[in-house]
């Protein structure tokens, strides 16, 4: 399947992924700029913050209120929006083909 990363500075980057892959690992494996993923995917650093494209929010799901993921998103110095997610908390399924993810300018 294909995943599309968009960032203001770096532009658009289309990468190939498999069902079952973790979105943060996909970004790291493809050297996507703007997703440092410091802690390596333990939902512990908040540095794989992404905005899910509006057309995809329903399919991917919003962050669970009261969850650690939510606390990490709100606590990081990056603008939190209703479509904010941590990439490390998204496991790709076959229906994610064509997913569009926007990346904050810096994090």
């Amino acid at each position: 399947m294909q995943i599309i990363f968009r960032q203001a500075k770096a532009g658009e980057c289309v990468v190939t992924a498999e069902a079952g892959d973790n979105l943060m690992h996909v970004a790291l494996a493809n050297d996507i700029a703007g997703i440092p993923g410091d802690c390596g995917g333990q939902c512990a650093c908040g540095t794989c913050h992404v905005y899910i494209n509006a057309d995809w929010v329903e399919r991917i799901g919003s962050v669970m209120p009261g969850s650690t993921e939510e606390a990490m998103i709100f606590g990081a110095p990056v603008d939190a929006r209703p479509n904010s997610r941590l990439a490390c908390q998204i496991s790709l399924t076959p229906m994610c083909d064509g997913l569009i993810v926007e990346i904050p300018e810096e994090q």
Partner: protein, 403 residues
């Protein structure tokens, strides 16, 4: 020291002496191997659990429901403390209060600070003597971080030594023979001046247009403005220590690290693009904040031990960063370590250091500016360390610049 501990059968890694002597490594190596979740039955702060392995530290730090930071349980230091910034709160209050201040270190704010930090770093380096001994801690680490702190607080730069003093008062260990204070009461009265000074600045900044310094951002934030006097003071204290000690200590730790591993300095020199990763690695290597404490809110099974509700649980970040199962050759500084950023020094989870990127930026810029000047720095001996189990703070590091 190790022998004495074995004799009484207690591995008490909360003794500040082992950080002053820099003798903590074998004790934690033993804890990680033999007692990764260890109940220390007695210490000067009473009984506590030591969490020493990387994975267990992440487990505790990312489970705030089971392991509370709340001041109502005594906060985040082994000794119960009364401070009430968001650091000593749990969700949902923690999330709410922390959100109020994230703008201080938002990418936009950092971008505005970068060129100023670079300029200051350059000026400090240019002012260092040549072919003459000096103290890297005083002349570089303290000088640079206190300038930065004065700027962040929009505090008169020529009075920055006061900020250093207040920060030292706030973190002082009362058993330290060189401590500037002897009692908790002395600490509080010493900090009164800081709080009142900052309060005055804060009120003044409310009347001015918002700028990017901490006090201004806090002065214009509705959430902060509606907080109690004590809470706002605690917030000033948090930014004071957070913005000062940690980076200061990593600036010293980096200089010592490069002196211990000169091949790493050569590697960085050959490839200056490594400076960002080197900054993360220096922070791992130094671990300026030695631990954070939590309090169990319920019975928890961890590493086949049962932690009871109400028990103090200490996550030894300094030990997590030496865990060989995560960091190969952990006692070695490696500027190109692939997983340097996975260190525990910023904490893991909702309480993770808010100023992480600012700290990394300051460190990266310092070493980039040293490289740009091609300074030939010679470190003349190992650092001396503060008597503290909380901050790993070099107190002096003799150096000389050849040329």
């Amino acid at each position: 020291m190790e022998q004495a501990l074995e004799d009484i059968g207690v591995l008490d890694v909360s003794q500040p002496q082992i950080y002053r002597d820099d003798s903590w490594r074998p004790l934690f190596a033993r804890l990680r191997t033999e007692h990764p979740v260890y109940y220390c039955p007695e210490s000067r702060s009473g009984p506590y659990w030591s969490i020493s392995r990387y994975a267990d530290i992440v487990r505790v730090d990312t489970d705030p429901l089971s392991f509370s930071s709340s001041h109502l349980h005594g906060g985040v230091t082994i000794e119960d403390r009364v401070a009430v910034s968001f650091m000593q709160m749990d969700a949902p209050m923690h999330t709410e209060k922390r959100k109020n201040v994230t703008a201080v270190v938002a990418p936009k704010s950092l971008a505005q600070m970068e060129s100023m930090i670079r300029q200051r770093a350059g000026r400090v380096l240019d002012a260092l003597p040549r072919n003459e001994d000096f103290d890297w801690v005083q002349n570089v680490s303290i000088e640079l971080t206190s300038m930065m702190l004065a700027t962040l607080f929009a505090y008169p730069i020529e009075q920055r030594q006061k900020l250093v003093h207040w920060s030292n008062v706030l973190t002082a260990d009362l058993d330290d023979p060189e401590s500037p204070i002897r009692t908790e009461a002395e600490r509080q009265s010493g900090l009164q001046e800081f709080y009142l000074t900052m309060m005055e600045l804060w009120q003044q900044r409310q009347k001015e247009e918002q700028s990017y310094d901490i006090i201004s951002l806090l002065a214009h934030d509705e959430g902060v403005r509606s907080s109690s006097f004590d809470e706002i003071c605690a917030l000033f204290g948090l930014f004071l220590v957070g913005g000062n000690d940690t980076t200061r200590n990593s600036m010293s730790g980096g200089a010592w690290g490069f002196s211990e591993f000169p091949d790493q300095w050569r590697k960085l020199k050959a490839d200056p693009k490594l400076a960002g990763n080197a900054a993360a690695e220096i922070i791992r290597y130094q671990t300026p904040v030695i631990y954070q404490r939590r309090t169990a809110t319920r019975e928890v099974e961890l590493g086949s031990k049962t932690i009871a509700a109400g028990d103090k649980v200490v996550m030894w970040y300094i030990s997590g960063n030496r865990d060989e199962s995560v960091f190969e050759d952990a006692d070695t500084l490696r500027v190109d370590r692939p997983n340097a950023r996975q260190h525990t020094a910023f904490g893991m989870g909702p309480h993770r250091c808010l100023g992480a990127r600012l700290a990394e930026m300051q460190l990266r810029i310092l070493w980039e500016e040293v490289l740009a000047r091609n300074l030939d720095i010679e470190i003349l001996g190992p650092p001396t360390y503060a008597f503290s189990n909380l901050v790993r703070s070099p107190t002096s590091l003799r150096a000389r610049i050849r040329g």
